[in-house]
């Protein structure tokens, strides 16, 4: 096992990630766009988009840390950097003191991730998908099956669909399997990237209850990105508000709310906080496609 004595589970220091987007060949007769709000045209048919801009925070062991932001604010890019899938252009990230670039394999053993898309081999059954994932993390088949059944049943999945192709499952059920896949490997840091986006209210509540249970009963540090402020309010110990790739505020839910004066005697919501700090609405459209 790797050293995890450090009380700082995640140390994100000045992380910046830019993407160069191609706009096709710059034919002289084509009118070029002059870059959008966070894009910079560089004259050769490409524009640079700053997805994450100098982000800095620490997450303590056992904490549920929320990143609240609208679609396109850089939440998923940041999670990809944390999960070794993207290399930051600037700054550093350490998981329990292990640098994600220098000690990639160690970090991979400490983390797991649930993304907004429950990405699976849809023709395979949940059990086959979980067994595949478990083997990659060094788990034996018998142990993996036992644990998978335990977690899936805890998440409210009946036994029959566990052995049927995933394409026959609802999105909510697939997302529960995604959570089981992440939890099966017993990560010390769990990255939940909009795990409840697009779920029906019941599935959403069940997933949230599981996160609450993890928080209360397991030694897991959770980083949760969401644009659901009630979810962030209910689950997170601290919340960072991300807008255009930058953290504009970071505090406990109560601390954030105290930044905004109460309106007509009502306690402000995180939505009010977000609007006050960024001048934007947090969720423009519930069905809006995630970044």
């Amino acid at each position: 096992m790797y050293a995890v004595e450090n009380d700082i589970a995640l140390n994100v220091a000045g992380v910046t990630k830019k993407f160069v987007k191609s706009e096709g060949f710059p034919w002289p007769w084509k009118r070029r766009r002059n870059g959008d709000q966070n894009g910079r045209q560089n004259g050769n048919g490409r524009r640079t988009v700053v997805a994450v801009d100098g982000v800095e925070f620490q997450v303590h062991r056992g904490e549920v840390f929320g990143i609240l932001g609208p679609n396109g604010s850089g939440k998923s890019t940041l999670v990809r950097c944390l999960s070794t899938l993207l290399l930051p252009d600037e700054g550093s990230i350490a998981v329990f003191g292990h640098d994600v670039l220098q000690e990639e394999m160690v970090v991979k053993r400490l983390i797991n991730r649930v993304s907004v898309d429950a990405s699976f081999f849809k023709k395979l059954t949940p059990m086959e998908n979980l067994l595949y994932g478990a083997r990659l993390y060094g788990l034996g088949a018998r142990e993996a099956k036992r644990r998978a059944l335990e977690i899936l049943e805890r998440l409210g999945l009946e036994r029959e669909p566990i052995f049927q192709p995933m394409e026959e499952m609802s999105r909510g059920m697939q997302q529960k399997v995604a959570i089981a896949r992440a939890f099966l490997t017993q990560p010390i840091v769990l990255l939940l990237d909009e795990p409840t986006t697009g779920l029906d209210p019941r599935s959403k509540r069940e997933v949230q209850a599981f996160v609450e249970e993890l928080r209360d009963t397991h030694d897991a540090t959770i980083l949760l990105t969401t644009h659901d402020m009630q979810e962030a309010d209910a689950l997170c110990d601290r919340i960072a508000i991300l807008d255009d790739g930058k953290i504009v505020a970071l505090d406990t839910p109560a601390g954030l709310k105290s930044l905004v004066p109460s309106i007509n005697g009502h306690e402000p919501t995180l939505e009010d906080v977000f609007m006050e700090l960024t001048g934007k609405q947090l969720v423009k459209d519930e069905d809006e496609k995630s970044e």
């Binding site: 993407f19 160069v20 990809r80 394999m105 023709k123 395979l124 990659l136 993390y137 060094g138």
Partner: protein
């Protein structure tokens, strides 16, 4: 030792997953097998019909075997190449690429798993086709050097695995068109390697290029072993070239893939849609 067992277990994950996928897509597997059998039979019937078409007396058994070796060897090599080169394309298609790349395994472990599957699958598939074709033709393989042909096939597999790994970089770098590009490579190998004809009939400028393809040596070696009964010593030249190509292509493929993976992580091309 524990690390080795863990890596082997992780490699087996790819073998098991792929056979599970084969099981689930059984309808397509049947179609693919039927098509491959029909293709092999059609090409072999060209050999059976050459005498009737040309009106000239030829060694029909030799012609049938010549074409049959071509079609079977090419089938096997292209299955290996396809399965190795599509390791990224499959995962992109299914949307699982980020999860596989997040797993704590080396890329070699990933490749070994995919390669083992492709070898077993390729041999099973080709064996089935051979079994069916044998029902249609009286194949006279007296005097064939089967041991030598197996050696040629194994060493040829190494180089095709290396080429497959290099080709798998394309879907990594070009999420939308990379998979199509790998088929272009495969088509060029088919054309240049003398699958159904000796490379001496190719135009002069194509012949040196044909000598760069490992498939050329596999096919020449297999024909020499099976049709002419060449001894293993006589196959040494072909074996040596194939081993050299394999020894160069495998680590080169892994190194190129490693660089491409870094590039993909820098530019965000590991995402499902790229």
């Amino acid at each position: 030792m524990i690390q080795l067992i863990r890596e082997l277990g992780a490699s087996y994950a790819f073998v098991e997953r792929n056979f599970n996928l084969v099981k689930r897509y059984w309808g397509w597997e049947v179609v693919w097998l039927m098509y491959s059998i029909a293709n092999a039979l059609s090409i072999t019937f060209i050999g059976a019909g050459t005498e009737a078409v040309t009106g000239q007396k030829i060694d029909t058994n030799h012609m049938i075997l010549y074409l049959l070796v071509g079609t079977l060897v090419w089938h096997y090599l292209s299955v290996v190449f396809d399965n190795v080169s599509e390791l990224i394309a499959w995962e992109r298609w299914e949307g699982t690429i980020e999860y596989t790349f997040m797993a704590p395994i080396t890329r070699s472990t990933h490749m070994i798993g995919q390669t083992l599957f492709s070898l077993v699958y390729g041999l099973l598939h080709t064996g089935l086709i051979l079994g069916v074709v044998a029902l249609f033709f009286q194949l006279d393989l007296r005097g064939a050097n089967f041991g030598g042909s197996v050696l040629i096939l194994l060493s040829g597999s190494l180089s095709f695995i290396g080429l497959g790994i290099v080709a798998s970089v394309l879907p990594l770098l070009f999420p939308e068109r990379g998979a199509q590009m790998t088929h272009v490579i495969q088509a060029l190998l088919l054309l240049f390697s003398g699958v159904y004809f000796p490379i001496s009939v190719l135009p002069g400028w194509m012949q040196p290029l044909a000598r760069l393809s490992p498939a050329t040596y596999v096919l020449e070696g297999m024909r020499a072993a099976l049709l002419d009964g060449a001894g293993t010593g006589e196959l040494g030249g072909h074996l040596g070239r194939l081993v050299v190509i394999g020894v160069v292509a495998l680590p080169l493929g892994l190194a190129i893939f490693g660089q491409a993976e870094k590039y993909a992580k820098r530019t965000g091309k590991l995402k499902r849609s790229g």
